[in-house]
């Protein structure tokens, strides 16, 4: 009976989980803020108190993500792509493709029947291809991020976002707003534009079903629907999409045993 901790320090959000016998005991997400090191500590403490454990009970801690180097209490770092594969494989054994829509980039990871990486592609470091695009637009439209997806579903005529960059996209949004287009139509347009990018990213590694979506983007229902429309399939959405990669990290910790 062993507990394992996985910490995923992203550029904007830090996530962590504790698993025991492949069962999710605790999970937590906080903004990374200015210090990865602090974020890592905060996450650990919260996870331990959730699981009513002490550091001593944890057999191994594995870190991943942009700031993994700052997880001072981790025994080692591992690749976020590998972790996403392991994480999704645990939640959806049958999943062959995982789309991870994170704040800085979007990853498409193909997973083989053993949960190993079969292929992957990471979007260019371009906000328009990542969840960041939605943040930026929500900000322009003054819509709370959490309402963005729902709002976009109200749209009857989504605007066409023809530009390929969040910065251009922003000024395009402003132009459309200036033309009197409503918030929901733009929100829907944003999700459509991001979904276009994601689907063309998926096409680069040849989609295999079933396909799951995770990362912060998976919380945006409008985006999920849009991607489903683009790819013409049903996406599997895990219960806590943001912590899938952290989960994978904890699992690699486990499998080392």
């Amino acid at each position: 009976m062993a507990w394992f901790m996985g910490i995923d320090i992203g550029a904007l959000y830090s996530k962590g989980v504790i698993v025991r016998d492949d069962e999710l005991v605790a999970h937590h997400v906080i903004p990374s803020g200015a210090s990865y090191r602090e974020a890592a500590g905060k996450i650990r403490d919260e996870l331990l108190s959730q699981a009513e454990l002490s550091q001593g009970d944890i057999s191994d801690v594995v870190a991943t993500g942009t700031g993994s180097g700052n997880v001072y209490f981790a025994s080692r770092k591992t690749s976020d792509i590998v972790c996403t594969a392991r994480g999704i494989h645990m939640v959806f054994l049958s999943a062959r493709t995982a789309v991870d829509v994170a704040a800085q980039s979007t990853k498409v990871v193909k997973v083989d029947e053993r949960g190993l990486v079969a292929n992957f592609v990471v979007s260019e470091k371009c906000a328009a291809g990542s969840g960041r695009f939605v943040d930026v637009m929500a900000n322009v439209l003054r819509i709370p991020l959490k309402d963005f997806g729902q709002l976009s579903l109200k749209s009857t005529s989504p605007v066409t976002f023809s530009t390929g960059c969040a910065v251009f996209g922003e000024s395009e949004a402003i132009t459309r707003v200036a033309e009197g287009v409503t918030g929901e139509d733009i929100a829907a347009g944003v999700n459509k534009a991001l979904a276009d990018k994601i689907s063309s990213l998926v096409k680069r590694v040849k989609l295999e079903e079933p396909c799951a979506i995770c990362g912060g983007g998976a919380l945006n229902i409008g985006l999920v629907k849009a991607v489903e429309r683009e790819l013409g399939l049903q996406l599997l959405v895990p219960p806590y999409p943001q912590v899938i990669t952290a989960l994978g990290a904890a699992l690699t910790a486990g499998h080392i045993q």
């Binding site: 976002f161 023809s162 530009t163 390929g164």
Partner: protein
């Protein structure tokens, strides 16, 4: 398409639904040959009773399919052309003729050829200079093109037929020049947008039909009272291609565009093909030397061993000075899509040249999306505010 529509109305209709007529013709059993570049000798296509159809990009269509083969930092016009092809929007074409007119054209052509299954596909290599050996080589490329197209059409092409085609297309060229004569008066009798629509139609129709359309348009314009009206400035626009009325409208909101030196304007029509003994001579000279596209390397004198910048830009841009004089142009807008290298390298020198005779000019670029037009509007308005006294 309204049967009774003629001249400018018909041009507008075709502009809005370009492939409609081509599809009708295909239904009647005609074969349609698409080409994405002004360097393809349409005379050869016409002479074999095939319909030449200029392939345009579509600024309204977000690029999704082309990503598989072309990166984002690539000529957005060719990206869009390929994207439309991959989406089957050109499915009515029986063949495509691509060229090495510039690097993006060449790269796109190869992908095009392998990702689409047109019954006919031919690639024309185009040399970079106008040296005699280059013209010879290019003529060889044209005769190869003629050969493969003859095989596709299943008939030999006689010089007589080719000469007729050259005459027909020369007639179209002189008609387009006649159309541009109508922008010389103040105010011009026809707007830049109307001309853009007419030319886009010409490049979507069999040459005879096109000639009929443009003749009607000319008569209508001469007869009508309600022209575009006098605007505070008379502009020359210069660039690789101008294919969208929304862009022209941005210019014409505050000025009259009296000349568009681009592939969507005067460029493919500015001079005639010389009728030579073997028509291929005249065609190769015309297409390599006379089309004023930046992709061709020109110098004051072939192999010159002394260099004089003033003479150099005079030899490259001199024809524009005549246009500026004859059309009383008082401002020039250099407009390019991003990543258009051959034209982009030209920009500072062309502006030097315009400065040399006091013509105000500005350079604007966009990424070939509707979204990038709003910033264009601001720049163009601001430019007009600087030249209008």
């Amino acid at each position: 398409m309204a049967k009774n529509a003629t001249g400018l109305d018909r041009a507008r209709e075709i502009y809005q639904d370009r492939s409609r007529r081509a599809r009708e013709l295909k239904a009647e059993g005609r074969k349609i040959i698409g080409y994405p570049c002004a360097y393809v000798p349409v005379e050869i296509i016409t002479a074999l009773d095939l319909v030449p159809y200029r392939i345009y990009a579509d600024i309204e269509e977000p690029v999704t399919e082309a990503d598989r083969a072309l990166p984002a930092a690539f000529c957005p016009v060719m990206r869009s052309c390929l994207d439309c092809a991959l989406k089957g929007k050109d499915d009515f074409l029986d063949g495509v003729v691509a060229t090495h007119s510039c690097d993006p054209q060449e790269k796109t052509a190869r992908v095009w050829e392998s990702h689409t299954g047109y019954p006919y596909f031919h690639f024309i290599d185009i040399p970079g200079t106008i040296r005699p050996e280059a013209v010879e080589y290019y003529e060889g490329q044209l005769s190869d093109f003629k050969k493969t197209l003859e095989i596709f059409a299943g008939r030999k092409l006689s010089q007589a037929r080719l000469k007729e085609a050259v005459q027909l297309h020369n007639q179209q060229r002189s008609l387009v020049r006649a159309l541009y004569e109508l922008t010389k008066p103040e105010p011009p009798l026809i707007s830049g947008t109307e001309i853009l629509q007419v030319i886009k139609s010409l490049l979507s129709l069999p040459v005879a039909e096109g000639n009929a359309l443009i003749s009607q348009a000319i008569d209508e314009v001469k007869a009508r009272r309600n022209g575009p009206g006098k605007k505070p400035a008379r502009l020359l626009t210069w660039g690789a291609t101008m294919d969208d009325a929304d862009i022209m409208d941005i210019f014409e909101a505050g000025a009259n565009v009296v000349m568009d030196e681009s592939c969507g304007g005067i460029r493919p029509f500015r001079t005639d093909v010389k009728l030579t003994q073997d028509p291929l001579n005249g065609l190769s000279r015309y297409y390599l030397k006379d089309i004023s596209c930046a992709r061709t390397f020109r110098e004051a004198a072939l192999g010159e061993t002394t260099k004089n910048y003033a003479a150099d830009i005079e030899s490259r841009f001199g024809y524009l000075k005549a246009i500026v004089r004859d059309w009383k142009v008082n401002g020039a807008i250099l407009i390019l899509v991003r990543f258009c290298d051959p034209f982009a390298f030209e920009v500072p020198s062309l502006r030097d040249y315009f400065d040399s005779f006091g013509l105000p000019s500005t350079y604007v670029e966009y990424d070939y999306t509707k979204g990038s037009l709003a910033p264009l509007r601001t720049r163009v308005e601001a430019f007009l505010e600087t030249i209008i006294r």
